[in-house]
Each structure stands twice: as structure tokens, then as C-alpha cells.
């Protein structure tokens, strides 16, 4: 179709705001040292008393409680779901976590276990974690998760293809998975630890966002480094630029390596200062973590009682 006519039609249909798909070879450049300096402004923020308590409760509510082991069993998943529902028996007023995150074959079990709670079930898919399979297999994997009732799907991008410069392939694959998701929200994992440079993190973020991601997510948790503040900063800036362009909000999920409250609060501050207050809910920001919840709980108890806490008083699973 003639591009001009297409644009005019779009404008006529009231979709003039839909952003044009950019040339991904030309995505914005990132200066790593500059990002580091921005992060040091965040990490020197002093988050105290009320702000801290409020932040910790928000964090708790943003956690995707996760188990993604080859050794996962029905027993393990069942324990995880119970932990999600009853975070800390002695303080029942706390918010719940946002979701539990499991492999597709455990989705229906988790779904049943969490029935009646506000907690979503997220499932990884698309030949997680390496993503080295055909599109058909990935679509089937996605459908398995969705058909079993997953509210959210966490897919991985094809990093190999990305490194080969096949940005259209990566784009189309995400778009196809998005279609397979139906009404489930799609989180696109970039596996930033395999991308090697912040410029590439930005490029992958843009590809994912324009291809239809509802969330972009740093890591599988299987590769080191997993989530870091600089990587998250770059991804948040990609989300911001898309929002400037389109008015559409995209969510963000750093995953892996965020195991203590102080660090989690710094992530939250980074979100607040980059994207503003609208993103401060589990609708738009999540932590992918397994051990963070207990540390946040300990900190909340410390704030409540004034005593430093022991792990012995917080259930592991």
C-alpha cells in the first residue's frame, strides 16, 4: 500500500498517534559511564521511615514469586503457592505478591492453588531459557501455558538471531507469540546478560516494545549477570521514549539477583524518577525473585517492631 495513503487512513481512523516502527539499526546510543553516574544518584538516595515502609509494601506487592528449576515438582510448586498466599502469618494485613512464576506444565496446578486470590499465574514459555527452537515449538509452548490458564507469559527472545542482526526475525517472533497469548499479558525477556552492551539492551528493548510486549524483562535468572540497575535504567528509558511517542505504557520487570530490600528500593526509586508515579504499581512494575520476599518481610517487621530480624522466623517457602 502506498505509504502516504496508509498514513492518511491511519489519521482518518484516529490512530495518528500509533508510532511508526523505527529502524532498529539506528536505536539511540547509550553511554555506559553516564548511565553509571545516573545510577549513583539513585543509590545515594536515602529512603527512610515512612517512605521506606510504603516502598517495602509496594515491593512486596510487585514480586513475581518464582521457581524455575529442572527439579521442580508438584510439591515444590504447591509450597510456593502457599507462600504466595500466606506470606507471613503473624502479619496478615500485608499485601500479597503479584504472581507466581512457573514452567508451563505447572500452570494448571498453580492456577487451582491460587483460585480466589488476587495472585496471577505467570508461566515462562518459548523454549525457556535458551529459546533455541523453532517458532512452531515456541508457539505450542505458549499455547500450552495459556490453555492451562496462565494470566501472564514470560517469553525469551532469540538472542542468537539478534546478534546476527536479524532484527526483523526477532520482531516477528515476538509478534507471533503475542498473538498466541490472546488475553494473557506478554513479558519479553531480553536476557541482557547475553547481550553484552547497553546499546544492544536498548535495541532489544525497542524491538520488544514495538513488536507488542506488555512488559519487558531483563533476565531468565539462568545467566549472570541478571538484572542490574544500569540495564534496568536503559530499559526504563526505552519505555519512557515509547510513552512520549505513543502515550502507551509498557511494564518493566527486572529479574534475578535482586535479593535484598535495599536494592529493591533502589529499583523502585529508579522507576519513580525515570517514569514517574504512574508506574508504581504491579500493573507496570514487577520483580522476578525467589528470596526477595522474605528479606522485605524482615525489613517490614524491623520497621514495625524496631528489632533486627532473624531468618528463623520467616518461612522459607
Amino acid at each position: 500500500m502506498d505509504l502516504v495513503i496508509f498514513a492518511e487512513q491511519q489519521a482518518f481512523m484516529g490512530k495518528s498517534r500509533a508510532p511508526q516502527i523505527p529502524d532498529f539499526r539506528l536505536t539511540p546510543r547509550i553511554d555506559q559511564v553516564g548511565v553509571g553516574e545516573r545510577i549513583s544518584r539513585i543509590t545515594t538516595r536515602s529512603i527512610k521511615s515512612n517512605a521506606k515502609l510504603q516502598g517495602l509494601k509496594m515491593i512486596l506487592n510487585m514480586i513475581d514469586l518464582t521457581t524455575l528449576e529442572g527439579a521442580d515438582t508438584r510439591g515444590k510448586v504447591s509450597q510456593l503457592c502457599n507462600k504466595a498466599k500466606f506470606l507471613h502469618a503473624s502479619n496478615p494485613d500485608l499485601p500479597t505478591v503479584a504472581a507466581v512464576c512457573v514452567y508451563p506444565n505447572f500452570v494448571s496446578q498453580a492456577k487451582k492453588a491460587l483460585l480466589g486470590s488476587p495472585i496471577n499465574v505467570a508461566s515462562v514459555a518459548t523454549a525457556f531459557p535458551a529459546g533455541q527452537s523453532s517458532l512452531d515449538v515456541k508457539i505450542a509452548d505458549t499455547k500450552l501455558a495459556v490453555d492451562n490458564g496462565a494470566d501472564e507469559v514470560d517469553m525469551v527472545i532469540s538472542r542468537g538471531r539478534f546478534h546476527q542482526g536479524e532484527y526483523n526475525y526477532v520482531f516477528d517472533e515476538i509478534a507471533a507469540v503475542k498473538e498466541a497469548c490472546g488475553s494473557a499479558r506478554l513479558k519479553v525477556i531480553l536476557e541482557t546478560g547475553e547481550l553484552g552492551a547497553l546499546d544492544k539492551v536498548r535495541r532489544a528493548s525497542d524491538i520488544a516494545i514495538y513488536a507488542g510486549a506488555d512488559f519487558i524483562k531483563t533476565s531468565t535468572g539462568k545467566i549472570s549477570p541478571a538484572a542490574t540497575l544500569p540495564v534496568t535504567c536503559v530499559m526504563l528509558e526505552a519505555i519512557r521514549d515509547y510513552f512520549y511517542e505513543s502515550g502507551t505504557m509498557i511494564g518493566m520487570k527486572p529479574a534475578g539477583g535482586i535479593s535484598n530490600s535495599k536494592l529493591a528500593l533502589q529499583y523502585l526509586m529508579l522507576v519513580k524518577e525515570t517514569l514517574g508515579d504512574a508506574w508504581l504499581s504491579n500493573q507496570w512494575f514487577r520483580y522476578g525473585a525467589s528470596s526477595l520476599a522474605n528479606d522485605v518481610l524482615m525489613q517490614i517487621e524491623k520497621q514495625r517492631t524496631g528489632n533486627y530480624q532473624s531468618k528463623d522466623y520467616f518461612s522459607k517457602d
Binding site: 527512610k48 521511615s49 508515579d277
Partner: protein, 487 residues
């Protein structure tokens, strides 16, 4: 076009107060002059108040040195030079300077708290920038003391004698370190005067010098206003004048030393261009712009006060800039989360306000962040002006406050011409991802410091100083030794 999407800040999750404690800070009610290793009452018999610009409360009374006092200080410095300092081996000299560095590190917290109380700068900066850099300066130059011959091949460098030093109010302790450390390392003795509004950390430095056991008279510290400075400049037994401050005063000093053999180093004003190309890492450039103009409330001679944005990215950069400005916290300098503190003095606030009025009258469009300001104290919101041109006064003149003037450009040649179109030449910033363009720009800027893809970075090893009317001589690094030596 519909209304562009906006980000909302400060509605949902706000930081709680996080005040730095002022306990454990030892401030006397009154400070006398530090001359010849002793605390002496001023011959002037006069004391002036130094106030906290964030609260307008008096912090201490400080001695005002007159000509007699300065004479005493110079005599003490000469005596120390003749009898002790010039006879000491260079290695031993260096060890004293190392001691000062260490003692500043040990008392870092006290220094940063007092610096913030006396000058209005935020504790985050005095703690993370001023004080550690001051200590690092002493540490760096200490090591030069016995290595001077390696800095100047084929020469036999010799000290000048007594150095008279006059420092500004924007970085009191740090500027003292920039002045004293190289002077001592090269074997000179010192008479230094603090700025009128920020005398306290220099007297704290005097305590450090005392406990370092530095021979009496090697460093003499006085306080006062312009007349005290004039007494130092005009004293016949001073061999060297090092001054940091305005270009106007710098010229007065330079005229005053005509016909004498006094060497001078002048570190004066600036109106730096900060240039953003369309291929720059824009988000980091925005951070650099913020850091370039709002660092230390814009009380920085090398502040990036003239922003040039390539036209194709003007809207993007301005939108990012405004959103980043919204997330800046203005207020109590002692709160660990404050980004922009108090304006240093009522007088300086008046100057800044005058320029803001001038900008508005010249037809420029003003944008300020929307934060609340404290009732007491001297405050100015971070401000930017668009719709300005080279002929605007707010583009030509140094404001020395958190006020940014934004212009656009189309081509490299155009922006080079505009950037250099100033009597000043202290610093410049260049933002682009293209290496060959960076080196084109950095070599064509008529400025002593060029920050490429960065801004307002400082280091003891890195020489600092200007071209043209921004002064002459360098401070910092190997090149900072030369102004204190006869080669």
C-alpha cells in the same frame, strides 16, 4: 496533534526527611585568625557574622583581617619560608602534606556538614565531591614534593617564596586544597584568605594543619572581604598571587601587580557551551546538562550555562530535560536527598533574580520546576530559558546560578562559531556518539577543559584553567605545579 503524554512525579511515593545529623560537629562561637601557627585576635578588632543561607541563622563570628593582620601573616609566612620550609628536605615536606590529606579524610564528615551549613550546598555534594576531592588533592600533590625535577626536564625548579591566595565561596575547602596543596608541594609558604560568606571550613582546615604539626607560619589563614584581599595582593613581600573568582576582580588584581615581580594565576568566570548533537546518547546528555548547570546551584565557574541542541532533537531533549528537572529535589541542604540547596547569599540571589527578570524582559520563555521552596533562606528553582539568542544578556553574561539558556543549531560549523563567540573560555561540553566529530569539536573549542560525553568532572590529576578572559595558569595535575615555581 493531541496533548503530548506527560509523566507525573511527586504524587504517590515521596521521600521522608533524611537529615544529616549535625551533632558531633564542633563549631566555636568565634574564630580568630590563624597566623604563625597561633590563633590571634585581629588588629582590626572587628568580627563579622557568617550565616547559614538555608536558615539565615548566624553560625559563628569570624575575625576580619585588616592590612596589619595581613602584614603579620605575610611576615609569619616569610619567616617560616626562610627558617624552616625552604630548609626542609622535599621528602619531609611531602610527608606533612600527606598528613593533611589523611586528617581531612578522618574528619570528612565534620568538614562536609560545616561546608553545607556555611555555604548552602547540599550535603550529598559536600560529602561526595568537595571533601573527598580536597583530600585527594593534598594526597596527589604530597607525592610531587620530591619529584619536581621529573616534571620539568632540564630545569632546576625553585619555589617562589610566599604565595598569597584568595578563594571564592562556591567550593571553599576544595578551592583551598587546589591552592594550598601545590603551593606547599613546590616549597612555598602560604597566606590564604577565605571568601566572606564561607570562612568556616578554612578555619577547620587550620585545625587540621595544627594537628598535622605543620611548622608555624607555613600556612596562614585569614578572613575578610575585598579589602583584606587587596592587602594580600598589594603586600610587597608576596611573590605569588593565586586567585579564583570573578573576571572583574581578576582584572583588578592583575592591574595591581603591574610593575612588581609577582606571578599570578587567575581562575575566573565562564559561560560554557554544552553542545548536544542529534546522534548523542540523549538520556545521558540530559543527565550531563543537569549536572552541568544545576551542580552546586549553578555556582560553578565552569557551569554549562549555554546549552546548544541540534534542531532535529530539540523537542525530545527539552522534554526529557523538563521531566528530569521535575524529579530534582530543592530545599534543605542538610537532607541527604536534596539535589539543589540554598543560594549562597542574599546578594547572589539578588543577582540571579535580576538575570531571570532580564531574560523574561528580553522575551525568552522560562521554565522552572514546580517544587515547593522553604520559607526561610535563599532559594532559586532550577530554571531554563528557551527562545534566546547569542545577543541575549542571559546568553552572554555569567549568572552564577541555576539558570540555563537554551539555543539550537543546525551544523557543526555554526555551533563551533557560536560556542566560541564569547570573551570567556573556561570549559565546554560536547555530546555525540561519533568519535571523529568529538575530536573535531574538542580541538576547536577555545576552552581549557572540554568534557566529551560528560560534564563537570574533576580530578586532582587533571589540569583546570581557562583560555581568554577566563584567566590563565592551570590548577591540578602536573601542569598545576608550574605557576608556583621558577624554572
Amino acid at each position: 496533534m493531541g496533548k503530548s503524554p506527560t509523566l507525573e512525579f511527586d504524587s504517590k511515593w515521596n521521600l521522608s526527611p533524611a537529615p544529616e545529623s549535625t551533632g558531633h560537629i564542633n563549631l566555636k562561637e568565634q574564630y580568630d585568625l590563624f597566623i604563625g601557627g597561633k590563633w590571634v585576635k585581629p588588629a582590626s578588632k572587628k568580627y563579622f557574622d557568617t550565616i547559614n543561607p538555608a536558615t539565615e541563622k548566624v553560625l559563628a563570628k569570624v575575625a576580619e583581617a585588616n592590612e596589619k593582620d595581613v602584614n603579620r601573616a605575610v611576615l609569619a609566612a616569610r619567616k617560616a619560608y626562610n627558617e624552616v620550609w625552604s630548609k626542609l628536605s622535599a621528602g619531609e615536606r611531602g610527608k606533612y602534606i600527606y598528613r593533611i590529606a589523611r586528617l581531612i579524610q578522618e574528619r570528612a564528615r565534620e568538614f562536609s556538614v560545616i561546608e553545607s551549613m556555611d555555604g548552602g550546598k547540599v550535603i550529598r555534594e559536600s560529602r561526595d565531591v568537595d571533601v573527598p576531592l580536597a583530600a585527594a588533592h593534598f594526597f596527589y600533590y604530597a607525592g610531587w614534593a620530591d619529584k619536581l625535577k621529573y616534571a620539568f626536564p632540564n630545569r632546576n625548579p625553585q619555589p617562589l617564596g610566599v604565595a598569597g591566595q584568595i578563594i571564592p565561596w562556591n567550593f571553599p575547602l576544595l578551592m583551598a586544597a587546589w591552592k594550598i596543596a601545590p603551593a606547599l608541594a613546590t616549597g612555598n609558604t602560604v597566606v590564604i584568605k577565605s571568601a566572606e560568606t564561607t570562612p568556616l571550613t578554612l578555619y577547620k582546615l587550620a585545625e587540621v594543619i595544627e594537628s598535622a604539626g605543620l611548622p608555624p607560619g607555613v600556612v596562614n589563614i585569614v578572613s575578610g572581604a575585598g579589602e583584606t584581599g587587596a592587602a594580600i595582593v598589594n603586600h610587597p613581600d608576596v611573590n605569588k598571587i593565586a586567585f579564583t573568582g570573578s573576571t572583574g576582580v581578576g582584572k583588578i588584581i592583575q592591574r595591581a601587580v603591574v610593575g612588581t615581580n609577582k606571578k599570578t594565576t587567575l581562575e575566573l568566570g565562564g559561560k560554557a557551551a554544552n553542545i548536544v548533537f542529534e546522534d548523542a546518547p540523549l538520556d545521558q546528555a540530559v543527565e550531563g546538562i543537569i549536572n552541568g548547570i544545576y551542580f552546586n546551584q549553578g555556582h560553578v565557574c565552569c557551569a554549562g550555562s549555554r546549552l546548544f541542541i541540534q534542531e532535529s532533537v530539540k523537542d525530545t531533549v527539552l522534554r526529557k530535560l523538563r521531566d528530569r528537572m521535575e524529579s530534582l529535589i530543592v530545599g534543605d541542604p542538610m537532607d541527604k536527598n536534596t539535589d539543589i540547596g540554598a543560594i549562597n547569599s542574599k546578594e547572589q540571589l539578588g543577582i540571579i533574580k535580576k538575570y531571570i527578570e532580564v531574560g523574561k524582559k528580553e522575551g525568552a520563555t522560562m521554565y522552572q520546576n514546580s517544587c515547593d521552596l522553604p520559607k526561610k533562606g535563599y532559594w532559586c528553582r532550577p530554571t531554563l530559558f528557551t527562545n534566546v539568542s547569542q545577543s541575549s544578556r542571559i546568553v552572554q553574561e555569567e549568572i552564577f546560578g541555576p539558570v540555563l539558556a537554551v539555543q539550537t543549531f543546525r551544523t557543526i560549523d555554526e555551533v563551533i562559531a557560536k560556542a566560541n563567540n564569547s570573551p570567556y573560555g573556561l570549559s565546554a561540553g560536547v555530546w555525540t556518539d561519533k568519535g571523529s566529530k568529538i575530536f573535531n569539536l574538542t580541538s576547536q573549542m577555545k576552552a581549557g577543559i572540554v568534557w566529551a560525553n560528560s560534564y563537570n568532572k574533576f580530578d586532582p590529576t587533571s589540569p583546570f584553567g581557562g583560555y581568554k578572559e577566563s584567566g590563565f595558569g592551570r590548577e591540578g595535575g602536573l601542569h598545576g605545579l608550574k605557576p608556583y615555581l621558577n624554572l
